[in-house]
């Protein structure tokens, strides 16, 4: 096993060294990432400076929701977010180099460009989570603790799966890569808000097609003992791992189909 993982360790290690080599650039990148996290949060803050409750959630609950969704998304973004660079590789023909190496292409792509600067946003969301937890009146049980620990992990898995789905579609779209952003970044955006403010079709879309509500909203309903709006009852909050599994099944099948569809430019 250790032997098999060794090439990836080397790849990731080299990426990390190269990114931290220029200290000042790295720090400014990191600050940029922190500020993106803060920008996203500013929206929640401004909304709640005008209202007390949004979609049955008060400010503390909304921060918890936002933090959970963002921990998941930012971790996924850190680990696999760069797979949406695929169109660049397709256009330049550099994907062919990956095909020549005796490692799975997806695994190479994921380990090729882990962007450490994205840690900034992870830190912002973890801090928000730590602040939000004691502010909420949660009736702790062992099951809820387990759910709380599991939620960021499943959320990261869901968003990572969405990134891979989006990247698989690029084999066909290439130039239209932004289509997929509607579902990856759009899903991430929608997941930070109580889904009860969405219309029913939209809520179903962001639950059963793009499983964004599984990443934070549904688990938060369980944590706070809220019933949940029509179409997305509270018990679904326990099903987040299933959602992650479903996304990854589609992602891997799609990726396989995409890679088979790909033909090099014949350089």
């Amino acid at each position: 096993m250790g032997e098999r993982l060794r090439p990836y360790q080397v790849l990731v290690g080299s990426r990390m060294r190269s990114q931290t080599a220029y200290r000042r650039s790295f720090v400014s990148d990191l600050l940029g990432s922190v500020s993106i996290g803060l920008m996203e949060f500013a929206e929640v803050y401004v909304v709640f400076s005008n209202v007390d409750v949004l979609g049955e959630l008060d400010f503390a609950a909304a921060v918890l929701l936002f933090a959970l969704a963002n921990v998941g998304f930012s971790v996924a973004d850190l680990l696999v977010g760069h797979v949406d660079n695929l169109p660049v590789y397709l256009r330049a023909g550099t994907l062919d180099a990956y095909l020549l190496r005796p490692l799975p292409v997806l695994a190479q792509l994921i380990t090729s460009d882990v962007s450490l600067r994205r840690l900034g946003r992870v830190v912002v969301s973890v801090v928000l989570l730590v602040v939000a937890l004691p502010l909420n009146d949660i009736d702790w049980t062992a099951a809820k603790v387990a759910l709380l620990v599991l939620t960021p992990l499943t959320a990261a898995a869901v968003f990572a799966g969405l990134f891979v789905c989006a990247s698989a579609v690029q084999f066909w779209l290439v130039e239209g890569s932004e289509f997929a952003n509607a579902f990856t970044y759009g899903g991430a955006y929608a997941s930070g808000y109580p889904a009860s403010i969405f219309s029913l079709p939209m809520r179903l879309l962001f639950t059963f097609v793009v499983p964004a509500t599984f990443t934070a909203y549904l688990p938060v309903l369980v944590l706070l003992d809220l019933p949940g709006p029509a179409g997305t009852p509270q018990w679904l909050g326990w099903c987040a791992p299933l959602a992650a599994l479903a996304v990854w099944t589609v992602a891997l099948l799609g990726w396989r189909a995409g890679l088979r569809h790909y033909t090099g430019t014949g350089s």
Partner: protein
């Protein structure tokens, strides 16, 4: 002036090549519009029906109009100049018998003109179908709106120009460009109308050119500001445009003096 028009047309033609990318962008703008309109309407409902002068319909309209303007105003990225400074191509721009800032502004406006309908119409159409739009029924707000949008696009250009100039002094610009996107994201009214800001944030926004990029055109087009109030907004936009463009010229001149081109 003829030269400027030619450059605008060239900018338009350059961008008209990327049709699929334009369609994809419009689709994404529309999906985000749907989410934003839901959040805006949800917040207005939670506030009891009106919030800082917006009711559910005008709130949704605001969200859709902003989505329609994102591409022309170019909120998310413009690093053309920075890349040319970094690889030395800027020397070619300096050798041309026309002012670089003027030429790039023309290209930026040409791009915006191309994006205006294909990237703007889909979100507005979706808005009209899904939430309905509250648009004025007289022609004046649209005429003033067109001026305001052009000013907004130009202010965006002036700001991006200034930020890109940091490339004369820094090697890696991503962090700096990101900070501009973030400032624009919060302070321009992109995610939330500036009118909803708590006082301290509204004060900060007022001290920057960002509200002139999106909030101002949206206010004028939606006739939230009419008559002299609308003219006042245009004047503020024009003032920011002049100020930031002039500052950009100053910084560019200093940067150009420092410029060393490899192999030149």
């Amino acid at each position: 002036m003829r030269l400027f028009a030619t450059l605008v047309i060239l900018g338009f033609r350059r961008w008209s090549t990327y049709r699929l990318a334009t369609a994809a962008g419009a689709f994404t703008n529309t999906v985000f519009g749907l989410i934003k309109a839901s959040i805006t309407v949800g917040a207005i409902g939670a506030a009891g029906g009106t919030l800082a002068g917006y009711d559910a319909l005008t709130g949704a309209t605001y969200a859709w109009i902003v989505q329609a303007l994102i591409a022309p105003v170019n909120v998310f990225n413009w690093n053309e100049l920075a890349l040319r400074i970094r690889d030395g191509d800027i020397a070619i721009d300096l050798a041309r018998p026309l002012d670089p800032q003027f030429a790039y502004l023309a290209g930026f406006l040409g791009r915006a003109a191309h994006q205006f309908i294909p990237r703007g119409a889909p979100p507005l159409l979706a808005g009209a179908l899904i939430t309905g739009l509250a648009l004025p029924s007289t022609p004046l707000p649209y005429l003033l709106g067109l001026v305001s949008i052009t000013l907004g696009i130009s202010v965006s250009f002036a700001t991006w120009w200034l930020v890109n100039l940091a490339a004369f002094w820094l090697i890696e610009l991503r962090g700096v460009l990101t900070l501009n996107v973030v400032a624009m994201g919060i302070l321009s009214g992109l995610v939330i109308p500036v009118h909803w800001f708590p006082d301290w944030l509204a004060t900060i926004a007022g001290l920057t050119p960002y509200p002139s990029m999106l909030q101002a055109p949206a206010d004028v087009v939606m006739a939230r500001a009419e008559g002299t109030a609308a003219l006042g907004i245009l004047a503020v936009q024009a003032a920011w445009l002049t100020g930031v463009l002039l500052l950009g010229r100053l910084v560019f001149a200093r940067g150009a003096r420092k410029l060393v081109v490899q192999g030149g």
